[in-house]
Symmetry: C2
Subunit: 274 residues, 2 copies
């Protein structure tokens, strides 16, 4: 849903609240997003765009004997990621590198597996990014991509105002060069980037009052908080009036007593070599 990838107009910002939101999101969704991802002992795994380490801690937990390397373009984010892994898995030997994913400091075919979560949605040319990553991936190696899709959200009670507020987030992310609807596009994206054996699986988060941890961890502290985070920018951009946006937010909060659905996409694919 969001990742610390500095870019002009990065839609979610870099505040302490935002870093906490990313942590809430990752912990709440870890089972949903990471199930099925476990790399073999000794395999060389690269997390591209690790940000503050929200997913890295789960990668480490799921693949204790893999050789994990993590890169991010932000030194500040890397420092937080390193601290997060040290706290959750003392002694885990992750290699950390500050680097741009379009200019990675690794030899050709240096990795057996790539893991790329909530990164491509923020890039103007995600196909070029995914294609470029094949350079550091051994032939026959895998890429795993996870993305959200804000157009997948639906809820009860339904609300045109809430849908309009979500639309503002999508519009602002597009204006910043990203794509908040990327989850639905992973199969064509990876095909265009030259991967084969592409398998996409939807991972649908479903929330109702019988699941209070998800009401708080997902509906309130992840999704509604993310939409609320673009309020001032959306109003300033003239996308919506303040009162209308606030009505949408109030309606999103009302779904905490109803139901909420959001679908992530998780894709795996194989590199045929260069």
């Amino acid at each position: 849903m969001s990742k610390v990838m500095p870019a002009p107009g990065y839609v979610h910002g870099y505040s302490p609240d935002e870093a906490r939101r990313l942590g809430d999101q990752a912990d709440t969704l870890a089972g949903l997003l990471h199930s099925g991802t476990s790399y073999p002992a000794g395999s060389r795994v690269l997390e591209v765009g690790c940000g503050v380490g929200a997913q890295t801690v789960h990668l480490v937990a799921g693949s204790r004997a893999a050789r994990l390397t993590a890169v991010d373009i932000s030194a500040a984010s890397l420092a937080r990621a390193r601290a997060a892994v040290a706290a959750s898995a003392p002694g885990a030997a992750v290699q950390w590198h500050q680097a741009d994913l379009f200019d990675l400091p690794f030899a050709d075919a240096a990795f057996d597996h790539l893991f790329v979560c909530f990164v491509l949605e923020h890039l103007a040319d995600p196909v070029a990014a995914a294609a470029g990553l094949r350079r550091v991936l051994a032939p026959g190696g895998t890429i795993t991509v996870i993305e959200g899709d804000h157009g997948s959200a639906f809820f009860h009670p339904d609300s045109p105002a809430a849908r309009a507020a979500i639309g503002c987030l999508v519009a602002l992310q597009a204006a910043a060069g990203g794509n908040g609807l990327l989850g639905r596009q992973l199969q064509p994206l990876l095909a265009a980037a030259g991967y084969r054996d592409i398998a996409v699986r939807p991972r649908t988060v479903y929330v109702d009052p019988t699941r209070p941890a998800l009401v708080e961890g997902f509906t309130r502290n992840t999704f509604t908080a993310m939409v609320a985070g673009v309020r001032d920018e959306a109003v300033a951009a003239g996308l919506v009036g303040a009162a209308e946006f606030d009505r949408g937010l109030a309606d999103l909060r009302r779904t905490e007593g109803g139901t909420f659905h959001y679908t992530f996409a998780k894709a795996t694919a194989v590199s045929p070599g260069r």
Copy 2:
């Protein structure tokens, strides 16, 4: 998504094409919708609103030793259902009854389990229907409800015209007294109907060109066919112009080369007794 429940303005109609569409849908989705549903030997199971038997054949297959009864209000549909089960499971001993679900010809607490698939979406008061069904359910018995939600559909390439065409289907179903967005409402519905231990699980259909059977069986022959089926009624009702609707249909067909998502809801709950 649809069920043969005669009612004024039943949105999907009763044509041979529609019956074939129901069969395509049920066979394509059987694994997705029926997994987890298997009733014990000797247990008394009632399928409410079996229609042409599209789901009944899968119930029989999954619970060979249960004692299955199926009711529908339409004698013609029941005859088709009986033939379908005879063809798919010769010797299966299903009891068939023509009856209105609001006036079932069974004793109180006559069943251990109820199965209700694509029925409540067509009723003006689904809470009253679900509450009324508790009469024939033994205390501690379960109800299983499956519904679609047309507002859950999202796809690539995205298309406002396609979304508008889907909106026509939802509007016509509402005008006929039904609710095409019922999937998202099953938890509050069953709570209001007096059930406890309610557990709802989303079942998301995901389609892309790597899954050609679903492209044909779901995107084309189930979903797009369902939307196409209301074209003339939507245009006659003035909901949309013919050209605009046809553009929406063309855009839905274009998703056969892209991706398509649709989320069903499957709920189970327990009756506390009357």
